[in-house]
Amino acid sequence: MNKALLVDVLESFRSRKGRTLLSAGLIVSGFLLLTFMLGIIQALEQQSKQTLNEFGADIALLNVAATTVPPYTKERLTLEFGKGNVSSISKHLIFVREARTNLSVTATDQHLFQLRPYVSLTGRGLDAIDIEQAERNCVISKSLSARHSLKVNDLIHLRNQAFTIVGLIQAFKDSDAQIYIPNSCKALWSNKQNAVTLDPKQFVIKSQRSSNKEITAKLKQQFADNESFQKKISITTADVLLQGVNALSTMVKITAGGIALICIFYGCLNLGTLMMANVRERVSEIGLRRALGANTFEISSLFMFEALGLCVSSALIATLVGNAAFIFIPQLLNIPMQTSFSTLAAPLLIALIAGSISAYYPAKIASAIRPANALRL
């Protein structure tokens, strides 16, 4: 853009301040909405990726809805998926004296710490000896440790039963306070008169087969002889989780994309109307420019650059304001938003395209104005 064209564009904005500001305001609000939508999509996608990473691509969860679990369940699963590839879990809400509240306690075996992507921070996980000898050892999550100043070798009391903390881990969903104990320990904390070993309600399985359909078929086959139990199991795998996440992401994308499209369409319409009004108002100026030697390209360029200048500068303001708002909106409103290349570049790119489309027709009209007719007005 040469200096004279830049001056012309700025002068046009200056001489039509009210109209320009009104249009810029509408375009800014549209692109602000678009930036927010992109920020939300970006944050959701990021969260989805994180969830999948934490879940593990080759992990399947066998959930049991039955009250009692056949005693051969784990053996059969181990036979099918290999030693060390199956871990059993049962979860309980137990009063923890140190926390003075009920907390989630997971009774499990030593394999869980190899199967789930836990990060060991201090100490160790539960090992085979803990399980075999039903040691009163436990592993706690980092958040619980931080909240109650608990460290390795401290005691933690589940009701009246003392457990020694042997390790700290960064757990999946670490905002939750988690305690892991050997599943071989008698449930002495329960209200039952006789302490019993707890039936597992979930099995974590590591499988090379990634398809939920394949794993489900295999598991159903394993329990074909126990129809009532077979009916009470469900399987969660990464691909099912991914489908769920993708469905949510697609829904957000369609909704956000639809809103963004409406905004852009509205912005284009507004800009096109503004440019048409400008052309009609400036017919004699166009005639004068043509009389002074401007060619049709120079006339259309003038209106194209005006529209693009307004659209892109509005989009730039919206992008900067929007991305700056990502810092505090998630904290204030608890809505996930994240800055990315797309939240910065997409509004500007769309502004360029939308500005060009909406200015094309007015610019064409302007360049087709015959100077003799224009100067007669």
Binding site: A4, E11, S284, L288, A291, L292, G293, E298
Partner: protein
């Protein structure tokens, strides 16, 4: 001895369509302009004076006939030729001035230079023109704040800055009082003395003494009334 023709209009015809009816304005019109002519074209409103000036300035195309410059036919269909003519050959001065109201006098005068590749926007001739047309004191003023006479002087300066050979003035005093009209005509006389050729359309007979030729446009054709 007869001066050689500089610009010639031969058998020019132009009509305007209003609905389904065709209104002929110029009918096989002929005109010869010599270098240094100060030519007044008179005629009632709607007689085609502005149309004739637009055709001379290559702002409009005739339905039939041709324009010759130094005996060479000017091609209306050749955009390069047309733009070259508009940029360097002929400059228009309008009754309605057509100034850019929010821009300064200086900016209005230099406005057309952006379309001349060889010229800078800060042409040294501007100072000279401001002095010649007595606009120095208002050069930074927005055009909308000027008087009618000042506006027309700015319009003339805008035409002159590009160094044209032919000035086409369409009712240049139509919006001015008699004193301002007289001042503008004196400027045109001065320009003629400096070698410019001027074609002026008017229906004010008081302007005719300033011109060396007077032609009346009647019923689509020109009649030479006087030639001094």
């Amino acid at each position: 001895m007869t001066k050689p023709a500089w610009i010639s209009l031969q058998h020019i015809e132009k009509s305007f369509l209003d609905g389904s009816k065709n209104y002929p304005v110029l009918k096989k019109l002929n005109l010869t302009i010599h270098e240094g002519d100060f030519l007044a074209i008179t005629g009632p409103s709607g007689s085609g004076k502005s149309t004739l000036l637009n055709i001379l300035g290559l702002l409009d195309t005739p339905d039939h006939g041709q324009v010759l410059f130094n005996e060479q036919v000017v091609e209306y269909t050749d955009e390069v030729t047309v733009l070259q003519w508009r940029k360097e050959m002929a400059a228009m001065v309008f009754q309605q001035f057509h100034l850019l109201p929010y821009r300064s006098v200086y900016d209005n005068i230099t406005f057309g230079l952006r379309y001349l590749n060889s010229r800078s926007l800060d042409a040294p001739e501007v100072e000279e023109l401001l002095e010649l047309l007595d606009l120095e004191h208002v050069q930074d003023k927005a055009a909308r704040l000027l008087s009618g006479g000042e506006m027309q002087r700015v319009s003339i300066a805008r035409a002159l800055i590009r160094g044209p050979k032919l000035i086409l003035a369409d009712e240049p005093t139509g919006n001015l009082d008699s004193q301002n009209a007289s001042e503008i005509m004196q400027i045109f006389q001065l320009l003629q003395s400096r070698g410019y050729s001027i074609v002026l359309s008017t229906h004010n007979p008081q302007l005719l003494p300033y011109c060396n030729r007077h032609l009346a446009l009647e019923d689509g054709a020109l009649n030479e009334i006087s030639y001094a």
